[in-house]
């Protein structure tokens, strides 16, 4: 939204030709007792490094399934998904886990912070996963500060924070390992409108810093923050 045409052009020119995310004829079929259900139906899509993409569509259109694929929480039934040039299907479970930890940051609608940890510890947690030690570099605190959470607030448990504050902490957690991709599943869905726009401003700022942001939303106003909108219906892309 805030990027000028010039900035966008410069970034586009500097983009690598290889997409950061590539879906090639991806289908996801759930085998239910009532019969097979196709959640994603032969989807092909390229998302370049540094893009800000909104995924839209009605309920049951396959948005969440798509996010699960992009977040490699799930694998396609058929087709291929490449992230940073790597075919997800060919990766081991541990490699996928490490990719989730290092390359992908996930922001959920319900924040999904760990209630047993303080806000600071929630943000520090992915650093501990990656470096196998407590953060002594000040990285967690710096990232929290960048999303507007000060030291005093970061000592609180998630239940002691407002929805907006929790989502800021969740964004900080997603960012702390400096991932290339930020997946945001209805990040404003549980927030009031004003707080929602504040969160979107943070996401726009991250995009401006070069992050690839993929956002799932129902709200056209929110989708307007993205530079590209992909619309899904019945598991197919009907607009991009």
């Amino acid at each position: 939204m805030d990027l000028s045409e010039t900035e966008e052009t410069v970034r586009a020119a500097g983009m690598d030709e290889t997409p950061l995310i590539r879906l090639v004829d991806v289908s996801k079929v759930y085998h239910l007792a009532s019969g097979d259900f196709t959640a994603l139906d032969h989807i092909s899509l390229d998302i370049m490094d540094g893009e800000f993409v909104a995924l839209m569509g009605p309920s049951g259109s396959g948005k969440s399934t798509m996010m699960n694929q992009l977040g490699i929480l799930d694998v396609p039934t058929t087709g291929e998904l490449y992230i940073s040039g790597k075919n997800v299907a060919g990766m081991t479970n541990l490699e996928r886990t490490h990719m989730r930890r290092d390359t992908i940051g996930y922001v959920f609608q319900k924040f999904f912070l760990i209630s047993l940890l303080s806000a600071y510890e929630n943000v520090e947690y992915p650093l501990i996963l990656k470096y196998k030690k407590r953060d002594t570099t000040g990285r967690a605190e710096a990232v929290l500060k960048s999303v507007g959470i000060d030291r005093e607030m970061s000592a609180h448990r998630p239940t002691q924070l407002s929805g907006g504050e929790q989502q800021r902490v969740a964004i900080a957690r997603a960012l702390v390992n400096d991932p290339k991709i930020l997946l945001c599943d209805e990040p404003t869905g549980n927030l009031d409108r004003k707080t929602g726009f504040q969160i979107m401003e943070i996401l726009v700022g991250l995009h401006r810093e070069g992050k690839t942001v993929i956002l799932v939303t129902h709200d056209p106003k929110i989708a307007e923050y993205a530079k590209r909108t992909v619309t899904l219906e019945d598991g197919r892309i009907v607009g991009s």
């Binding site: 977040g71 929480l73 886990t97 047993l116 501990i128 996963l129």
Partner: protein, 403 residues
């Protein structure tokens, strides 16, 4: 610096403190049960071993067809049968060599009358000069006259005997007059010994009196060989065996040393200890079920949290570790408290059941406390294995959807 997964486990236990505490109480009970039972059995073994070691320098030699007097029979000269013969006794003495005391003795069981009281007792026939070589007279004198007798301390206490009292030996039949002995001494208590001479509840008469009334001259029920140096016991045993049992296929005498008797008794007590330990182990099994239940509850309550952990890059092994830590914390809690309780309860049980705590703090006894604690912790970890495995193998998408 503490592991974040350990921190999470500690916080989870604190969050559900009461539930965790109740589950740990099961482990406390289990640890106390196996530690106390183990210590009780071991203390019993140690005490018996100690008592038996009194006769540890003794070889007990018997004939396989040992003559036994007929219970309740009136003494007569007709009850002799195969025992250790005079020739065999001579060979034993020759083989045993010098520095060894050889004590042939007779033994039977008989009824007796003391005043108006009838009873039954063992009767030993031992030469007076042999008596003092392995028995201690606590009160009175040794046998001097032909009708003199000694009695064991328990016998004297039970029948309120005094020196000079007379005992009629044999069953009262109203027609025959029965032989009578006069108590001249009371022996010091020996307890359970390994030389197969249990005098505490017995009457000891001279060999001559015995053979006069029971017969069987030079047909000894038992010969005890006492060595001065216990290290020579095995060599003496071999020498006697070679001298008397000339045909190994048909041995005429059986030689038992204290070690074989000791190992036989301690082995029996060991089996008993194992049995009571197994009973204690049942309570740990019950505790394991309780821990398993609590761990499953913890996993079920934290499904969404597991989903979050997995979706942001936690390895499955790390999730597994987190839940195993939780089980271990319950084990440490239960094992620690159980260990302390075992010290107090075990001490009380041993004191009440055995009557002495002299062996309680010996390593072989006290080792049951750390042993019980470790077993308690292992039981907790084993109980946590399946819940931890289940948590780590959850589908993160399903876990995140759970409410």
């Amino acid at each position: 610096m503490r592991d974040i997964f350990f921190d999470l486990s500690v916080r989870s236990v604190k969050l559900n403190f009461l539930r965790s505490l109740l589950a740990s109480i099961g482990i406390v009970i289990g640890v106390v049960a196996i530690s106390s039972m183990g210590m009780l059995g071991t203390n019993m073994q140690l005490q018996v071993k100690d008592q038996l070691s009194q006769g540890a320098n003794t070889l007990v030699i018997t004939n396989d067809a040992v003559r036994i007097g007929f219970p309740g029979s009136t003494p007569s000269a007709s009850s002799s049968s195969a025992g250790i013969t005079k020739t065999q006794l001579l060979k034993i003495k020759q083989a045993a060599g010098t520095g060894v005391t050889v004590i042939p003795l007779y033994r039977t069981s008989t009824e007796f009358t003391l005043g108006s009281v009838n009873g039954r007792s063992s009767v030993y026939g031992i030469a007076p000069n042999d008596i003092t070589s392995f028995l201690t007279i606590a009160n009175g004198t040794n046998i001097q006259g032909v009708n003199d007798a000694l009695v064991g301390s328990t016998f004297a206490t039970n029948f309120n005997l005094k020196l000079g009292n007379r005992i009629h030996i044999g069953k009262e039949n109203g027609t025959e007059s029965r032989p009578t002995v006069r108590i001249v001494g009371i022996l010091k208590a020996r307890g359970v010994t390994s030389d197969n001479v249990n005098t505490d509840n017995a009457i000891i008469v001279s060999r001559d009196w015995y053979t006069d009334h029971y017969g069987g001259v030079d047909q000894y029920n038992q010969v005890n060989v006492i060595v001065k140096n216990i290290d020579t016991l095995s060599a003496v045993k071999t020498a006697i065996d070679a001298k008397v049992n000339t045909d190994p296929k048909t041995p005429v005498i059986r030689i038992q040393d204290a070690s074989s008797r000791l190992s036989s008794i301690t082995s029996t007590l060991g089996t008993m200890t194992t049995f009571i330990l197994a009973i204690g182990g049942i309570s740990l099994l019950v505790a394991a079920t309780s821990i398993f239940n609590v761990m499953m509850m913890s996993v079920n309550e934290r499904i969404q949290e597991i989903g979050i952990l997995l979706s942001i890059g936690t390895e499955r092994g790390e999730v597994r570790r987190m839940f195993l830590y939780e089980a271990l914390i319950l084990g440490i809690l239960g094992g620690g408290v159980g260990g302390l309780c075992s010290l107090v309860i075990g001490y009380s049980v041993v004191s009440a059941m055995i009557g002495t705590t002299a062996y309680f703090f010996l390593p072989e006894s006290i080792v049951y406390i750390p042993g019980g604690m470790i077993i308690g912790m292992i039981v907790c970890i084993i109980s946590g294995l399946y819940p931890a495995w289940r948590a780590s193998n959850m589908d993160p998408i399903d876990a995140l959807r759970s409410e």
